[in-house]
Symmetry: C2
Subunit: 337 residues, 2 copies
DNA sequence: CTGTTAGCGCATTCAC
DNA sequence: GTGAATGCGCTAACAG
């Protein structure tokens, strides 16, 4: 029913070995024969069966992405970067969306065993030692994106530095009371985004001899609603901060709304800096720390592809560190509004 | 190196046939034997090779999603719905992101041939006859989401009705000059979102004896930036509309910004209704037409899974029609601000 | 009930 | 150079 390599061989009057050779551009085929085979391949519209190919080659030609909450713009962009790179190299992408920690553990421990993917790309996920063992034991190529681990290649950004820049910017603009809206420092998925940025925040405060107020640090989820609520709490303080740094643009947008709702002016009354530089930010005039999200995905995919090429030797992990960049817009500067 | 069915069989002292049987819960295995096999399976941490299984079964256990611009919140939500349903049934998901029409054509024509997926889920994509032939010829199960075609099952929403509700709502609130911000009516991907909603828009205008002004219809992309620009153009008119209906919340957010920037008040000066009900909308107070995005994905996946179950008989296509719902918030009502 | 065998479609030795 | 044979890991049909 489906056209196989045998059909092609027969029709072209050659053996399947030869067909296989032209399929894999082996040099050991005479040009006329190659042409003839190529010809009948298009005639029959033959497509090699990837399963059979995989079974024989012991490769699946697909790589797995383990990603939490891919609802967040950040993850979507990273995913696009990955997809873009992978498709160009003929790899398929298979998605594992882990919205809960149990799922993450499950995948991280089971996935390496099932030979469904040639490699794994983990996004914003921290590895426990159990996972590390499971992965290294089967020698599954793996690279971390937006996360790090000594044993594996990774591409990450400087969260501490990004936060430092943001807070320093706020201080330079004359702010002394700076609020911080973040996710949980002890993130259930273990990713250090919040805690690293928190560290940067505190460092800069300290360097400028500014006190750290527990109440100025509001913790929530990475969404607008949560940012809104956090800001409400900040506004309810006896002496609210005059500037807010949020760990994501989405949260910042929520905060913006809370401010506006209570009649506050941005940036006159409150300065605001987010993180990510998602699409709407540019547009809403939100100052932010731009992460190269698309590129992070791209580089991560490249790293993994490289590992797949020279799979013979165990390469030492390479860590790519991508720069973040402060984007100053209206929500943080008096001048531009 | 990797543990196979033979290893299990040997260790358990049975033939591979038996192992295969317990793997596929065949009733023809005595309980003691089954237990013994199960036992050694966990002992060896055996995982059946999906490629081999697929090759033998002629199934891949993965389904493909063809999706344009999955950067848009709408697509992300649909995707989540699909992912959610599929994973529960042990299916894997493989993503084909088609950002350009050529890619779409390529995938739609090649994918059916390569036996990489058991079925296809097309999101917001319109089929040309060439595609239809390619698909039906190989009898690849396929379901359309947010689109329709007589030959296939689909899950869609009432775009005309949704637009009607939105515009009617605006008129009821006293507006006579209603602008419309949409995508191209002759969408390159062929999806009828814009044109259907445009139809609804015009219907209601007509029913209320309101004239249709060409200039009130601004066409752009489905993003904030474009919504912003469209609104700017509307504002530049000698007699701008007092209400705007946009085909997506993102566009509406852009429009909102444009209004605010020129000092306009919402909803006092301008009423605004979007489409989709994405996360931020609730939160920004944007009136909108809510689409059950997550559910659309879910239902689409279910439909496809059903088709995969009873693959023997060619079932007649079933079309699920999901309701949309007007969500009235601050941007369209005087009362609530 | 259970072991054995024959494919599934392709890559890869080997001989020729 | 090229064809035939073998194996990849598993399911299913066939004997016991």
């Amino acid at each position: 029913m489906n056209v196989t390599i045998y059909d092609v061989a027969e029709r072209a009057g050659v053996g399947i070995g030869t067909v296989s050779r032209v399929l894999n551009d082996s040099p050991h085929v005479r040009e006329p024969t190659r042409q003839r085979v190529l010809q009948t391949i298009t005639e029959l519209n033959y497509q090699p069966n990837p399963m059979a190919r995989g079974l024989s080659l012991k490769r699946t030609n697909t790589i797995g992405i383990v990603i939490p909450f891919f609802t967040r713009p950040f993850f979507v962009e990273v995913l696009r970067g990955i997809d873009n790179e992978l498709l160009q190299h003929g790899y398929n992408l298979i998605l594992y969306d882990v919205e809960q920690k149990e799922l993450k553990d499950y995948y991280l421990r089971e996935l390496p065993m099932r030979r469904r993917v040639d490699g794994l790309l983990l996004i914003s996920l921290c590895l426990e030692e159990v996972d590390v063992r499971a992965i290294t034991r089967v020698r599954l190529p793996i690279v971390l994106v937006d996360s790090r681990h000594p044993a594996f290649s990774s591409v990450s950004v400087d969260n501490v530095g990004g936060a430092r820049t943001a807070v320093a910017h706020l201080i330079e603009n004359g702010h002394q009371r700076i609020g911080f809206i973040s996710g949980r420092l002890d993130d259930p998925f273990g990713f250090p985004t919040s805690s690293e940025r928190f560290a940067g925040y505190r460092q800069v405060l300290k360097e400028h001899d500014l006190p750290f107020h527990e109440a100025y640090h509001q913790i929530g989820e990475f969404n607008a609603q949560s940012g809104y609520e956090c800001m409400k709490r900040l506004l309810a303080l006896a002496q609210p901060p005059t500037a807010i740094f949020a760990t994501s643009d989405t949260q910042a947008l929520g905060a913006l709304r809370a401010i506006q709702e209570t009649g506050g002016q941005v940036p006159q009354d409150f300065a605001l800096v987010g993180y990510d530089d998602i699409e709407v930010s540019q547009y809403v005039g939100l100052s932010t720390i731009r992460q190269p999200m698309f590129r992070m995905g791209q580089e991560g995919a490249r790293l993994l592809l490289q590992q797949l090429e020279n799979s013979q030797d165990e390469p030492e992990p390479t860590c790519i560190r991508l720069p973040v960049q402060m984007v100053i817009r209206e929500t943080s500067t008096q001048s531009l509004n």
